[in-house]
Amino acid sequence: MLKPPKLHLNLQSFNWGFQTGATLDIAKSVVLRLDACAVFIPNVSNNTSYFDAAADGSGFPSFIIGNPSSATIIQWNINLGLLINLGKRNK
């Protein structure tokens, strides 16, 4: 069985989330930051470029799965980083 050719189109989706973390001053103008973030991307259909389907839905294997459906994608992100102060610092 040959894989049908697909258009590699893109998709922009609204997202929102929460984040929490902590900062620690390690130098006069450098701050260490550790944070964790949960991002929610609501109503993402499974016949989109997230799963190798074109914007018109072509490439979606509906003959096996049936009709496309939507769900919320949740992504958890843990970051370690640096903050560099550009101006006067608030104490």
Binding site: P61, N67, L80
Partner: protein, 140 residues
């Protein structure tokens, strides 16, 4: 016209001065992003765990409150759909994707001395694009 130009220059220089006197920070960070199983009707979606790099700006007008704007790039996760009845679904839907997002929000910093914990809310947009499909040799 001359007075408007003068006023404009005055306002811009005043604004730059205000920013330089405030707590503006550049954020550079990185770490893993995990995506739990996505539950669709008749199938489940999977996006692999990848490293995310972020670049942003944090503006803190006061020590306990900050605005944040950041751009994040997930390094080409692999995504696919899967169902229990046929492995063909995974073959048809496996691809590498570009996932990028821009987020804006605000944080509340607890007023502690050394380590400053914070809580925040963010919102924005995610951009997804297919970059590479599964090789033809893997297709049944």
């Amino acid at each position: 016209m001359k007075s408007i130009t003068f006023l404009l220059v005055f306002l811009i220089s005043f604004r730059f001065s205000a920013i330089s006197q405030s707590n503006l920070q550049v954020l550079v960070s990185g770490g893993p992003t995990f995506t739990p199983k996505i539950k669709y009707n008749n199938s489940a979606g999977y996006i692999s765990t990848v490293v995310t790099g972020s670049l942003g700006l944090v503006y803190r007008p006061v020590s306990t409150f900050g605005f944040e704007l950041k751009f994040s790039d997930l390094s080409h996760p692999t995504s696919y759909l899967k169902n229990d009845t046929s492995n063909t679904v995974k073959i048809y839907t496996t691809s590498q994707i570009v996932l990028q997002r821009i987020l804006a929000g605000f944080n509340y910093y607890l007023p502690l001395k050394s380590i400053k914990p914070f809580l925040g809310v963010i919102t924005g947009a995610t951009y997804a694009q297919t970059t590479q499909t599964a090789p033809q040799s893997s297709i049944i």
